[in-house]
Amino acid sequence: MADSVTDRRWIVRVQGVHRYFKRGSERVDVLKDLTLNVPEGEFFGLMGPSGSGKTTLLNLIAGLDKPSEGQVWVGDDQISAMSEGQLARWRTRHIGFIFQFYHLMPVLTAFENVELPLLLLPLSARQRREQVMTALDLVGLSDRVRHRPGQLSGGQQQRVGIARAIVTDPTLIVADEPTGDLDSRSADEIMNLLEELLRSLHKTILLVTHDPRAALRAHRVLHLEKGKLVEQPEMLGAE
């Protein structure tokens, strides 16, 4: 899929998406008729107040949730039509998720944490080891492979989280407030790292953040308010 004007390939296409939840008899609309396109290789930022639907949108794009109405495409896959099992398999290969609170397994070493998604792929132990070491090298933690999360600083834990997100060479990296739990220095280091990955690996990154400094690193930033995109940037695609 490419935009006829810019001839850029859309990696993410969100078309007329509604997402609502039922709370008893009440219907809560979180996303309302939302359309969004993200081109390949873009560092895309999403901002908005709490409860505006940022994480819901991120979950839809990452295949963790399904829209109530509308379609979500990532690459050539219409993920909104996939079953839970298909989505799980798809996520392994196509999505790298970076969490605000890192969410590393406390019982596993840095190496084992990064290796986790590779356990789901048909790779030999040697291939897994090579990929894990490459990922940890990229985030500058090749000397911490045997450390458990509790033995690492917040910034280092987030680096392990990033290594885990990129180790499968995913189509899309989704970061949900990756600097939200870090001090400003560590936050800068993480944002530098994401920019470096963007440059060296040519990945598409979706960043949800409250932090204006982090948002400044994005190529473009959209704002969500009450389930709607309130600022139409110049690169917003039109189908």
Binding site: G85, R91, T92, F101, V107, L116, L119
Partner: protein
């Protein structure tokens, strides 16, 4: 196998909880193994055979069976009296003599219940004594030979020897308990090899009969039990057809009218004898064992449920990483099964070794069985009990783990 490291590390996450769950499993598997060992032994004893089996002749209407010794010779011949009548392959008579070495202060330790029989039948008619290892067989044969030469000989099981604090070669005097005023001077001529006969005592029947005759000579009247001294007659038959014919010969013979006798298979005889323990055995089989299994499932269920509840976020992260629901189910079940199977195996192995080789059997006084041993297949029971109870106990928490909603979990985290 790829998930094994993750499973093991999750078990090690809370070592105290895993250790306590494992310990609970070990204790419960231990108890259920003991219960099943006893039930399995009794089931085997009551299982009917069709080839080369034993039948038992007892008094028809009274327990304990007390028949005149005059019945012995013809019963041992299967009541064969006419040409064409069939005879059993082998036979053995049993007379029960209870005695104590200290009549003033009778205790369980200083008393014994001896089988008075023809010693030459010990190796051919008593279960397991016909298939002893060569060394044990030679020692027992030597003891039997001594008893045949010396009718005042007694062969004792090792536990009975220990409780009397006696050794082979020493002499004992038994003061009659059921045969009042029939006291026996005995020489311990040997011991049984380690087996189910550890608590058994065997004396020569001729000595008991001679003592009854001596009583009559001394007192001028027969002993009250003189005409009731034969308790059981064992007959070995080659097949069920022969059993039927011998049974017919015995039951139709006019020689056994007062008292009347019955002839049944050993299995049936044991089952009849165990009737008195029916409620106890029923309770062990249908109340105790199931209660243990249910408790074990609940112990495992409790531990796994707590573990799953604590790890909601981690399970959600696994889903985000691409773990499918069945893989998460496998991880949680795997933890429970590893604890259950590992603990079950350890417990069964420890039970097998401790009971059989350290304690010399379970001293559970039921019927005339002195001790029960843990069969080798109990190791498989331990594994199976661990496996099944762990599966039952963890399937619900594992199912709830695989149903974790990622968006809901992270909404709570945020």
């Amino acid at each position: 196998m790829r998930f094994l490291v993750l499973i093991i590390k999750n078990i090690r996450r809370n070592l105290v909880r895993s250790a306590l769950t494992s310990l609970g499993t070990i204790v419960l598997v231990f108890v259920v193994t003991l219960v099943w060992a006893i039930l399995s032994f009794l089931d085997a004893a009551m299982a009917e055979k069709s080839q080369d089996f034993k039948g038992i002749v007892t008094e028809r209407w009274r327990l304990p069976s007390q028949m005149p010794f005059a019945y012995a010779a013809s019963l041992c011949a299967g009541a064969a009296s006419q040409p064409g009548d069939v005879r059993p392959d082998d036979s053995m008579t049993w007379q029960f003599y209870g005695g104590t070495v200290d009549p003033d202060k009778r205790t369980r330790e200083n008393s014994l219940f001896a089988i008075a029989t023809d010693p030459s039948k010990l190796r051919t008619m008593m279960d397991e004594l016909d298939s002893l290892p060569p060394d044990d067989a030679a020692r027992l044969d030597e003891a039997i030979a001594k008893m045949q030469q010396n009718r005042q000989g007694i062969i004792l099981g090792k536990d009975r020897l220990a409780s009397l604090n006696k050794r082979v070669g020493e002499r004992i005097k038994l003061y009659g308990i059921n045969y009042r005023d029939i006291d026996l001077e005995l020489e311990i001529v040997g011991s049984f090899p380690e087996s189910r006969y550890d608590n058994t005592a065997v004396i020569h029947r001729d000595y008991l009969l001679a003592s009854l005759d001596a009583y009559e000579r001394q007192t001028g009247k027969p002993h009250p039990l003189a005409d009731k001294t034969l308790n059981l007659v064992w007959l070995r038959v080659p097949d069920t057809e022969t059993f039927g014919k011998v049974a017919n010969q015995i039951l139709t013979s006019p020689s056994y009218s007062s008292p009347a006798v019955k002839f049944e298979t050993a299995a049936s005889g044991i089952a009849t004898f165990l009737e008195a323990y029916r409620d106890l055995i029923w309770g062990m089989r249908w109340l105790l064992a199931p209660a243990i299994l249910i408790t074990l499932s609940l112990v495992i269920s409790n531990a796994i449920s707590i573990s799953v509840r604590e790890r909601q976020t981690e399970l959600a992260v696994l889903k985000v990483l691409g773990f499918r629901p069945w893989q998460i189910l496998t991880l949680v079940l795997g933890e429970a099964l590893l604890i259950g199977v590992g603990s079950g195996l350890c417990s069964a192995l420890a039970t097998f070794v401790t009971i059989n080789y350290v304690l010399g059997g379970i001293k559970f006084p039921i019927a005339f069985f002195g001790a029960f041993y843990i069969p080798a297949e109990a190791i498989l029971w331990g594994v199976s009990v661990g496996l099944v109870t762990a599966w039952i106990g963890s399937i619900v928490p594992a199912w709830s783990a695989q149903k974790v909603k990622v968006s809901e979990v992270f909404a709570k985290v945020a």
